[in-house]
């Protein structure tokens, strides 16, 4: 080291000498005797030059990142798993607090504030989905689906799961991973259920397949294509009639408007947490939740860490501690039915602050606003020559646009030249014929934005 490093206190002054003297070692090398010589690297690492100077490092990062173009500089209609929702400034302020960014596994007494905020995350998710047991967040919605299907399999002792034939390929790929390959004994078979012309689960196909081999039925409302399921209670009933779990994936921002899964008979609810006050971060903002009734058969199967409210030695005082820790992979090791680890706990603090600021009216308002904006965009696009949207389906936030004469890559290239990121290209995906894109419209899109898109599309399609 040419000079002391700002991130290593003992690289400056005489601390090293003092500690060497205290341990009675000649030099640091003498402390590495455990590592055999032939394990050791024979040369220094060949890495890019050290940027210990913060001004130099900052400039390097800025220059590197300037090579991106963002959804702030452009007008974006990309959704499909990471959505451009508005992040209230207080959410950034809350997650930016150093106390929380640097916390690790403190005691309930010393990291009390964080634990309470976690509990407020689970409690508010519980209020939204109307369920009593909610775990701490998992990596993503896809991971939440995977874990919940595995839970269902353990609860029912069955090894097949029914899912919609049209599902986000990102989430589907995660689920497939969690269901293990067919070569192995413990795998779970994934069976798809047809989607009707209305964009919803085909009841007949579902009934036909929902036999006593089924651990769970999984469906989403709104669906991957944005379609709102008209009668989710009926689907859950079919699942329960088959002795299976009814797992529902929901967009939490729809729940001021759409019925809560707990109210229509879902037994497990999952969903994404990124819409609740977390930026997209190139996909780094995703997270997932799992909720269920507070019954032992569910509670004992959670893979997550779980926080519970508690009394303390002081009468009337609340504290918060982990419950059911020993059933996690930390406790079970090779007996673990599933596993957990670092997840997205910091984002759950943003989620908690978001839900607290939103309140019941905020959720109702944003639901109406998203439907109105997305609906008007869908209508305007459908009115264009060469583009069509099925307006008969009630949609939330996302909708499929079919293009008659151009492929989506061409359209999106042309839109990009106009500063617009078009919808996700879903050409060739399940349930799609011809060129199609999935557009996402949220509360962040103004009527002017939609006009701008429509005008650009008109030019591009001409």
């Amino acid at each position: 080291m040419t000079k002391p490093h700002p991130w290593m206190a003992n690289s400056g002054g005489d601390a090293k000498q003092q500690m060497l003297a205290a341990v009675g070692a000649q030099d640091v090398e003498a402390l590495f005797v455990q590592v055999p010589a032939d394990h050791r690297m024979q040369r220094p690492l060949d890495l890019p030059p050290q940027l210990a100077s913060e001004v130099a490092l900052s400039r390097h990062l800025d220059d590197l990142m300037a090579k991106n173009e963002t959804c702030a500089d452009n007008l974006s209609f990309l959704g499909a798993g990471a959505w451009p929702h508005y992040v209230p400034a207080i959410c950034d302020e809350v997650v930016g607090r150093y106390e929380w960014q640097t916390s690790v596994f403190g005691a309930p007494t010393s990291d009390h504030g964080r634990n309470q905020a976690w509990f407020e995350f689970t409690s508010q998710i519980g209020a939204l989905v109307e369920m009593d047991f909610v775990g701490l967040p998992v990596y993503s919605w896809g991971c939440a689906i995977g874990h919940s299907v595995r839970m269902a399999s353990r609860i029912t002792g069955r090894k097949r799961v029914l899912i919609p034939a049209i599902m986000d390929p990102e989430r589907l790929s995660v689920l497939e991973n969690y269901c293990a390959p067919t070569e192995m004994e413990r795998h779970i078979e994934i069976v798809t259920v047809a989607i009707g012309a209305d964009g919803c689960i085909d009841r007949d196909d579902l009934r036909a397949k929902a036999d006593d081999s089924i651990a769970a039925i999984y469906f989403e409302t709104p669906s991957y294509h944005g379609v709102i399921e008209g009668n989710p209670a009926e689907l859950c009933q079919i699942a329960r009639d088959a002795g299976a779990e009814a797992i529902v994936g929901v967009d939490p921002l729809s729940l001021g408007l759409l019925e809560a899964p707990g109210a229509y008979g879902a037994t497990i609810a999952v969903g994404p947490t990124q819409p609740l006050g977390v930026h997209m971060y190139a996909g780094g903002g995703v997270g997932g939740f799992i909720a269920s009734p507070d019954e032992e058969k569910y509670a004992r199967e959670y893979n997550t860490l779980n926080v519970s409210i508690s009394q303390t030695r002081q009468q009337g005082e609340f504290g918060f501690g982990l419950t059911l820790f020993h059933q996690s992979s930390y406790g079970m090791r090779d007996e673990g039915k599933d596993w957990t680890g670092n997840s997205v706990y910091l984002w759950s603090l943003a989620n908690a602050a978001y839900m607290a600021a939103m309140g019941p009216e905020g959720f109702a308002e944003i639901g109406r606003l998203i439907m109105a904006r997305a609906g008007s965009a869908a209508q305007a696009i459908n009115a264009l020559d060469g583009a069509s949207v099925d307006l008969s389906r009630p949609i939330f936030k996302e909708f499929v646009v079919q293009f008659a004469d151009h492929d989506v890559a061409t359209i999106n290239d042309a839109l990009r030249q106009r500063g617009i990121f078009g919808g996700k290209d879903i050409t060739g995906e399940a349930g799609i014929t011809g060129a199609a894109a999935l557009f996402c419209v949220t509360e962040t899109h103004t009527p002017d934005d939609i006009d701008r898109l429509v005008t650009a599309l008109k030019e591009v399609l001409a």
């Binding site: 500690m19 090579k67 109105a372």
Partner: protein, 490 residues
């Protein structure tokens, strides 16, 4: 602050955020919500103040935290600023032409970690260290399946001192887990390994050194034996800080390894993520890596999702980009000389702690027969203190928080060492901080002998008192306010 649970603040008619009005949509009644969610009704200021209060009631690294196995590092604010400013408005499905900066970042950092590890490719999709272990279990499946051997190779070997995530993810992925036990010298013998390796062996998943600070000198031989039997070898680099820049996983023969960027590479821990388990492997495993993979084509970068042998996704999209940026920033600021210095200081500081802790009444070390210097942490025990005074390590830990010491790490399960504790000094903290930590520890041990009540009734200087509810009892636990109301109020 005596801070109420936010869920109590309902029914006030207040708003924390508002949106423009829009007409109610027409939907089937079966789809519409009937009862508004029971959420708080508070102002923006109330919401902010509430969470700021809670933040102040969180110790984090505001005090001195030598939290073992977690490698407490400085989380540079420059990375925080850059990530928030540059990455927050990126969508993962943007056209690659608009993602050149972040893709170059991934490629650069993969190259960086390849040099550090000797591997050929790194990916950042795994959302934490355990997720990277899971990734390895999936890659192991795919690798053996590609050779038609998956049905045969259904066992993964690990050791009792390996982090729980290795056996747990192996088990989750469908493997049978064989756990080797420690022997006198602190690690499983070659004979024990040989006795379980065979045609059913799919992989070895281990860390080294372990949390005792003991380095397994036979590890190269282990790798050779497992390879010979047709298995893969995965190096969980959880305890990398002390060997950083001194050894490379690939040179020891490993096929894959993992670094926790939120730990060894200075990204913040956030109380448990967002995190990144950077998973790296040698060329023969690259085809199986999760998709999409960042690929350099000439001067530009793209995301390759057309990889038929890939295990697909372990998580949607391609990783916690902001954490990757922060870790990259940390790594570049350290450079080769900084990594070396950090490893040196970590090991030196730990041995200094060992020396001083060894002088504290009633404190012993794991594997007392091993007298050579330990690596970057050591597992100690206060078994004798407990025998003498009845005060447990848990009580000592809580009492230490009264002095601004983050509740210390005890041990992963199972507790092979009684009344264990495992401080890890790392390279961040000053000798004065370390001395303060030890002074407090010694003070509390002295209290245990002289005034145990003060330890037993701790904390005395924390936001709340010790919990008393039996949280593992179904009629007691409540993970939501709804459940609490039902079980404890009504």
């Amino acid at each position: 602050w005596a801070e109420p649970v936010v869920c109590e603040m309902t029914g006030t008619g207040r708003r924390g955020i508002v949106f423009d009005d829009a007409p109610a949509p027409t939907l089937p009644g079966t789809a519409m919500r009937k009862v508004a969610p029971a959420l708080p009704e508070i102002t923006e200021h109330d919401a902010l103040r509430h969470y700021l209060h809670l933040s102040q009631m969180t110790m984090g690294m505001m005090g001195v935290s030598l939290f073992g196995t977690c490698t407490m590092k400085y989380n540079p604010r420059i990375g925080e600023r850059a990530a928030l400013e540059h990455l927050r408005n990126l969508h993962p499905l943007q056209d690659a032409s608009t993602l050149q900066g972040v893709l170059e970042l991934y490629d650069n950092f993969s190259d960086f970690l390849c040099e550090v590890s000797g591997m050929d490719q790194f990916v950042f999709q795994a959302g934490g260290g355990a997720d990277a272990a899971y990734t390895h279990a999936c890659v192991t499946r795919a690798y053996h399946a590609s050779r038609g051997e998956l049905q045969q190779r259904d066992q993964i070997i690990t050791t009792i001192q390996t982090h729980p995530c290795s056996p747990a993810t192996a088990n989750t992925a469908g493997f049978e887990v064989i756990t080797l036990t420690l022997e006198e010298n602190g690690y499983p013998s070659l004979e024990q390994l040989k006795s379980v390796v065979g045609p059913r062996t799919a992989a070895l998943m281990v860390n080294n050194p372990d949390d005792m600070g003991i380095y397994n000198p036979d590890i190269k031989e282990w790798v050779r034996i497992v390879h010979e039997a047709g298995g893969l070898c995965f190096y969980d680099h959880a305890n990398f800080n002390g060997v950083m820049s001194r050894l490379r996983a690939r040179e020891l023969g490993f096929d894959a390894c993992m670094y926790m960027l939120h730990k060894t590479f200075g990204a913040p821990k956030g109380g448990g993520g967002p995190a990144v388990g950077a998973y790296g492997c040698a060329e023969h495993l690259v085809p199986f890596l999760p998709s999409p993979l960042v690929v350099k084509d000439g001067d530009s970068y793209r995301l390759d999702d057309d990889r038929p042998d890939s295990i697909g996704r372990v998580r949607e999209f391609w990783g916690n980009a902001p954490q990757v940026l922060k870790a990259y920033a940390w790594a570049r600021a350290m450079g080769a000389e900084g990594l070396r210095e950090a490893a040196d200081i970590s090991v030196l500081s730990n041995n200094y702690m060992d020396k001083r802790l060894g002088e504290v009444r009633g404190v012993t070390r794991s594997n007392p027969d091993i007298t050579v210097p330990r690596m970057e942490m050591t597992r100690h025990s206060v078994e004798k203190v407990t025998q003498d005074t009845g005060i447990t390590i848990f009580e000592i830990s809580i009492r230490m928080t009264d002095f601004g010491i983050d509740a210390l790490w005890l041990s992963h399960e199972p507790w092979l060492v009684a009344e264990p504790f495992t401080p890890e000094a790392g390279e961040l903290w000053s000798k004065e901080d370390i001395d303060y930590w030890i002074d407090v520890f010694e003070h509390v041990v002295t209290e245990a002998y002289e005034n145990p009540e003060i330890v037993r009734t701790a904390p005395h200087n924390a936001p709340i008192h010790q919990l008393t509810t039996a949280l593992d009892e179904p009629d007691q636990w409540a993970t939501t306010w709804r459940a609490y109301q039902r079980k404890h109020v009504s």
